[in-house]
Structures are given as C-alpha cells and as structure tokens.
Amino acid sequence: MALLSLEAVTRSVVLPDGDRLDILRGIDLAVDAGDHLSIVGRSGSGKSTLLNLLGLLDTPTSGRIVFDGRPLERLRGGRRDRTRGRDIGFVFQQFNLLPGRTALENAMTPLLYGRGRQFWRRERIARDMLERVGLGHRLHSTPDRLSGGEQQRVAIARALVRGPRLILADEPTGALDVDTGAAVMALLDEVANASDAALITITHDPNIAAMARRRYRLDGGVLSPLELLA
C-alpha cells in the first residue's frame, strides 16, 4: 500500500469574474515509503497547489487523496493538522526559520506539537538532529548568524525531528549556490534513506530533479513523467 496516493485529483478555483480556473488536472501519483521523486515545473504550473495537496494543507476539487490508507476526507480539522505534524516534514526554499530563535529552538518547534516523549524530550531530540546534520557547534546561533547552507541544514533538522514518513522539499536549493545546494540535497537524500522516509522534491532546477529516482514534470496542471536528456 502506497504511503500517499493521488487519484484523478483536480484543483480549480473560481475567479472573481465567475470563470473557473483549473490549476491541477487529473493528477495520479503514488508515493511509497523510501521513495525519492522530484517534480519540476515553471512558475504558474501549479507546483504550490500540488504542494498544498501533498502536504495535506488543501483539499482537491475532485479526485481522491489517500494518506497512509486513510482518505483525506476522513482527516478533518485538527486530526489532519496532527497527522501532518507527525508524518510530514517540510523544507522550504527560503528556509523559513523563525527569526530571533536559535538553531536549537527552531529545530525544537515541531516537537512543541508532539506528545509524550517527543514533547518532554524535545531539546535532546533537536540537539541530536542538529548534530546529525553537522550543526552541533551552532546550536545557539540565530538564523542571522548562520550561512545559507547552515540555515537550510537547520531547516532540514527541523523537518526531521519528528521522524516524518514523508519529506516535502519545496525548492530546497533555490536560495543556495550550486555546491551548497548539491550538499544539501545529498544530506536530504541521506537522512530520508536512513529513516526510510519518502522524499518529494519540488524544483525548477533539472539538475536537482535529476538526483531523484523518479522524476515528474508539472506543466499546465498536468503531471507527467520526466525524461532527462542524456
């Protein structure tokens, strides 16, 4: 059984003039545990909307989304938020670290929404994760004192502290130079493999997309397999 599956998913919005705009059309996608796939698309291709749906942040206009065997319509309100917090980790293009908080505090943030051991031992867990991504010496540095690569590593640590089963990376290297971007992607791939988490990378960079085992293109709201040129 797939960890996440989208079956004939569409998403459309009604414009102020009453017209309907189809953003996503007939998306079919199945993601298994340990999968690493990339989705490439230009601006306006529907990447953000797809990310919303994959991250359980939005509901499709039609079609079906099933996460861990549970249809999305059965996950409502707080339950969906808790499932997202527990099972999905986000890595964003602009890192989106909380300003004024140290690397440790940022990494602890998702654990504030956890329960039991995750909540009460949040500092230990976050510290271990930061050490794992090579930032054990920058625990108490605030984002403004970290380089772009370090910030993204804090963001990766934050995405992983709750042991997610699905990692959604939205343009994770968009704000980094080529070398740092490659290093960050290697790290993401490594930690995803180590925890058997599925990794979906949404990017406009074909080189980053090429690092995934399965590659897709999103164009005009239609998702199709991407063949890389030799």
Partner: protein, 401 residues
C-alpha cells in the same frame, strides 16, 4: 496547553522590547485600577474608624437616660445599679457611663470654658480614642485623689505644652475648684482648636452639680456587644433596666454605631468616578494593545504558516496568540499591582488619604485580584482579534509571503 504557554513565553522573550513598550499603558492602567480599589479600602477603613470614634464600634448599644411621664426625678444611683447588674448578667467587657458637661478651666492668664466628657476607661477602646502624648485612662486612674484628665491638644498648648512626666495639673472650676492631673493629650484637631477634655466618672463626681439640684446631667450608658447579639441584648437590657427602675419609667435602648444608621457609603460616588477613570485608561491601553497585536500578527503571518505546516492546529495557533497577549498583560498586571501596592502602602501617601489610621490595613487582596483580572481580561480582548486573523492564515501562501 503547556506547549502553547511555552510558545507564548518564547514569543514574549524574543520580542520583549516591543511587548514591554506595548504593555506600558496596560501596566499603568492596572496600577491605577488597583490603586483606586486599594486607596478605597484604606479610605474606607479610615472612615470606619472615624465613624467608630463618634458612635462606637459595632454594635454599641446606648441606654438613654430613662424618663417618667409624671416628671419624677430619676435616682442616678438606682440607674447606676441597674447598669452594673446588666454588665454583670451579660458579661459585657466594654461598657460605661457617659456624661457631657461644661466646665471652666483655670489657666495662668484666666479661665475658659471646655466641654468635659465623663467616661469610664472602656470608652477609649469603644470609641478608638487616640492619644498623642501620655496615655488613656486605666482602672488605676480611678483611685487618684486628684482626678485624671485627658485633654485636647488645644488645652495642652494653652497650658504651655507641659511635659506629662512632670504630672502637670489644671484647676477645674466646677462646684468647687478641683485640681486635675493631665495623663494624656489628644492629637491636634484637624478642624481647628477644640477645647475638650475627658475625665473619669469617678473623678467627675467631685465637680458635678449635686444630684437633685436640677443642674445635674443624668449619664447615659454604652455597651459594646457582639454584633450578632445586638438585637437580642437591646431588648433584654431595656427590659432588665425597666424592671430594676420600677413602674412608670420609660427605658430606651438603641444602637448608635454607624452600621445601624443604614446610610450609604459616602465614599461610594468618589470611588465610582475613580473606577470609571481607571476603566477608561484600561480601555485605551487595551485599544493600543489590540492595534499593536493586530499589526504584529500581520507581520507574523509567515511564522504562523510555518507553525501550521509543522502540525500546529488552528486551535493551537489561536490559543498561542491569545496566550501571548494574556501572558504579556498578566506580567503587566503584576507590575501594575506591584506599583499599586507601593503607592497605597506608602506611609506618606497614607498620611494624606487616611490620617490617623489606627488599625493596620494590608493592601486589599480584592484590589490585587481586580487588577490582575482586568489585565488578563484586557489581554484576552486584545488577543482575540489577532488570534482570529492567525487561524485564517493560508499556510503555503503565508510561507511564500
């Protein structure tokens, strides 16, 4: 809940300068509110003490001089006997006779009239008599050959403010000139010189007009009794005294302490006005807080989006934003209440709002609770709108904002 509290505290810590500035108004408003309530309690205590100086402590019963329909003269000894029986029968600790008379005091440069009040030692406790120099009467003062006097500050000054350790004397020009020893001096009267003196009933007998002369005043008797027994004892004392005096005598026993007057609190209107002013200050503080919180939430849309992405439920975001506001205003409330305590407990300020306060009045707990409650209420009010905005944040849009 604990997590939301931790989030709120972290937010306060990171943005403490902004939060503290926005809370200044709330702290001042809470200080004003708590001070008004606190000052009100102190002033009420001062007023209560003042009222008790006049009418006695609750419940003070007064046995008025009985009168006869046929105009017969009452035998003071018989009345005194009835009083003594009542005191003994009901084990009343504080009771005594009170007689007012005018007499003249001989000063080195002439004689002047004074109002003389003949009392028993218990009167001092019953009427909260404060003595500035020396002391109030004791039972031993009744044994003095020269009657003991407690005089007003005006008399004492008129005598040249003699040192009481030298046992200064003054001559009373009553039925026969009698020398009295001043054992105590009352505090200066705030309303101007007041020529008044207290003498013990035992000493007054020497200068009082002879019984049956037509000039003699019949004493009235006061009893300080437990409040819950006041009604029952009023009737019992009246019946007992009437029985002791025999047929034909009309006996009247009444309450004279302020609680029996049934009048409204004269400080209530002032307190109400001050409370309204403090309320307006608090409201203005709350409005500025709402404004700042609103702007802040708009600036924090991205952060809220991030938190939602990592599993914060809408309820949790609402609670965290609300708690941020409540935690902050609660702190402001604590500061405000602390300021109010410092203000209200300050001796110099107290000397203005409650001069001559006899009983120590702690800062009223209700003032602290009202202040903290108002602070929390303002925090909840100021946090509500921003919290509603926060839960409507669209996560991905917020993150890409």
């Amino acid at each position: 809940m604990i997590g939301a509290f931790i989030e709120a505290w972290a937010e306060f810590r990171v943005h403490k300068a902004r939060v503290l500035l926005s809370l200044l108004g709330v702290a001042i408003a809470v200080a004003a509110l708590a001070s008004v309530v606190g000052v009100g309690a102190v002033a009420t205590q001062a007023q209560t003490e003042q009222l008790e100086r006049g009418g006695g402590r609750p419940a003070t019963l007064v046995l008025q001089p009985p009168w006869s329909a046929d105009g017969a003269q009452l035998d003071p000894a018989k009345l005194a006997g009835a009083f003594a029986q009542v005191v003994e029968r009901y084990s009343i600790t504080y009771a005594g006779g009170v007689t007012w008379a005018d007499t003249r005091l001989q000063y080195p440069d002439g004689a002047e009239s004074v109002t003389l009040t003949a009392v028993d030692p218990a009167y001092g406790v019953m009427h909260r008599i404060q003595v500035e120099h020396g002391g109030w009467f004791t039972e031993r003062d009744a044994q003095r050959i020269a009657p003991a006097l407690v005089v007003s500050d005006a008399i004492w000054q008129r005598l040249g403010a003699p040192d009481l350790r030298t046992h200064p004397t003054v001559t009373m020009l009553g039925r026969q000139p009698t020398t009295g020893v001043i054992v105590g001096v009352l505090p200066p009267d705030p309303y101007g010189p007041n020529f008044q003196a207290y003498i013990l009933n035992a000493g007054y007998a020497a200068i009082a007009p002879p019984p049956g002369s037509g000039m003699a005043a019949t004493p009235m008797y006061e009893f300080w009794v437990p409040l819950d027994l006041a009604d029952a004892l009023t009737e019992r004392i009246r019946a007992d005294v009437a029985s002791a005096l025999g047929d034909g005598w009309m006996v009247d026993v009444t309450r004279q302490d302020y609680l029996a007057w049934g009048t409204s609190d004269p400080l209530e209107p002032i307190r109400l006005i001050l409370l309204i002013i403090a309320g307006v200050i608090l409201l203005l503080g709350a409005l500025s807080l709402v404004n700042i919180a609103f702007v802040t939430v708009k600036q924090r849309v991205r952060e809220i989006g991030i938190r939602r992405a990592f599993g914060a439920t809408a309820g949790r975001v609402f609670l965290a934003v609300m708690l941020e506001s409540v935690v902050a205003t609660l702190l402001a409330g604590v500061v405000g209440v602390a300021l109010a305590v410092i203000l209200v407990q300050n001796e110099w300020i107290r000397s203005y709002i409650a001069p001559g306060l006899e009983d120590a009045v702690p800062f009223p707990a209700e003032a602290a609770f009202i202040g903290l409650g108002a602070a929390v209420g303002v925090g909840a009010l100021a946090g509500l709108l921003p919290a509603l905005v926060a839960v409507r944040v669209k996560v991905i849009d917020a993150i890409r904002y």
